[in-house]
């Protein structure tokens, strides 16, 4: 059992990891064919992952409703919304329109999901303004630099700013293209090196957290 639970997954990870790292550099037709097949597998596995995610969500909220935990009413709304949408979606074959006529599934999407998500995102503007007023203070020299840069960029990204101070647009471009890009690139390089190191650790079995817990 230990072989199936530990050694075999580690072996599969090592072999596939090395194989597909090498595949990138081998443009032979058989190597490309292998990549085509495996990428199709990945798409299929992705589909199953979706089912797994939905099942897990159902289970978590079922427990909340059964135990009447705080906020169980929201879980009930989630259940009703999900089951309703799935049933109606399956009934209409997942189509928002049929022969140019909006289906019930399309109605739910257009008139419930789209405005609700839009509203949630739009509320951010109000919270950002309130948070900026309360916390964007020049408490130190570094904070003052950040504050001045933010004000310039906010001015330079809108027509009114460029109309009042024409140079603000060019300064904004310089801040984004030079200062911001170089710092972001440094972060990206660091993150990428970390990802390479983690991949190697997973491939060679040093990092095994993905195997989950359980007895040896």
């Amino acid at each position: 059992m230990t072989f199936l639970r530990r050694q075999l997954p580690l072996l599969i990870t090592l072999v596939t990891g090395l194989l597909f790292a090498a595949q990138y550099y081998i443009p032979h037709p058989s190597s490309e064919l292998m990549l085509t097949s495996v990428s199709k597998w990945l798409q299929i596995i992705g589909g199953f992952a979706l089912i797994l995610g939905v099942t897990s969500l159902f289970r978590i909220h079922a427990v909340k409703i059964r135990r009447k935990e705080p906020g169980w009413g929201y879980s009930f709304v989630l259940y009703a919304g999900m089951i309703g949408t799935i049933v109606i979606g399956l009934w209409h074959g997942g189509k928002e329109t049929t022969d140019g006529i909006t289906t019930t599934f399309g109605w739910i999407y257009t008139f419930m999901m789209v405005p609700l998500q839009g509203t949630m995102f739009a509320i951010l503007a109000f919270f950002i303004a309130s948070a900026a007023y309360r916390s964007f203070r020049a408490r130190s020299r570094e904070a003052a630099v950040l504050l001045i840069a933010a004000i310039i960029v906010m001015m330079g990204r809108v027509p009114l700013g460029e109309h009042l101070i024409p140079i603000s647009g060019d300064i904004t471009q310089w801040i984004l293209n030079v200062l911001n890009a170089s710092v972001r690139r440094a972060i990206l390089i660091g993150v990428s090196l970390g990802a390479v190191a983690l991949s190697l650790k997973i491939m060679f079995g040093v990092e095994r957290a993905y195997l989950g817990g359980g007895k040896e």
């Binding site: 990138y24 992705g46 789209v114 503007a125 007023y133 906010m154 990204r157 027509p159 471009q173 690139r185």
Partner: protein, 281 residues
Amino acid sequence: MNFAERMLHIDRRIIFLMIGLCTLIPLLYPVGLAIKVSPEVKSVYDYIEALPEGSVFLLSLDFDPASKPELYPQAVALLHHAFKKNLRVIGMTLWLPGTGMASEVVSRVAREEGKVSGKDYVFLGWSPGASSVIINMGQDLYKAFPTDYNNQPTTELPVLKGVQSLRDVAYVISLAAGSTGIETWYVFGKDKYKFELGGGCTGVIAPGLYPLLRSGQINGLIGGLRGAAEYEVLIGRKGNAVAGMDAQSATHFAIILLVILCNVFYLLTRTSKNRAEQSLR
């Protein structure tokens, strides 16, 4: 509590009201200030403009309805431009919640431009896997999407004639609201299958994509509502993005004013506290 301290603890509903009015009033009474086009948006426009008629243009609408105000106008402007140039348009999405919206915008703009589904454009829809979808499309587009969103077999579509994989696509643009988007298309697509890649994104993720722009990994970037407005100016078709720029100007200035005021009150409070401490000593 003195005046400055009171102002620092102002009721946040006053701030909400201020932002609400700054958004609403310019939408009702637009000023229409001139919009300057940035080089990164011009690059995208110039590249599409230079594509020969019949070239394959893939637009990946990688966003959900939450980002509709910023990215939908970008999609509309890009699609109008591509259809005007008589490019063969492939639409798709890597974001499941955005599928219906993406399908609607592609078919709506195509209808406005008098284009026919299957002949002039195709909407492939969504397929699970994100990065593996891109790899699969790079290997064989018909295996990644055997049918389009309307269940038509993709092998039979005239719009895809001569297109076997991403290698046959002249230009890809990803309109992204998050990490599955422009970066994914670069890492798993452009790097291996050698097509030209451009990007469009929400304002909040735009600064993070400048390194890709500077290194030539993407040839242009349309950032937020401002980018969409610039593109609308370039194609000479002013729409929702240009209309929203006055509101964005007003809200940006409202936030700038609030930040300046809060710092003035903060400095006044700090100075009075310092004075009080000195007098106690």
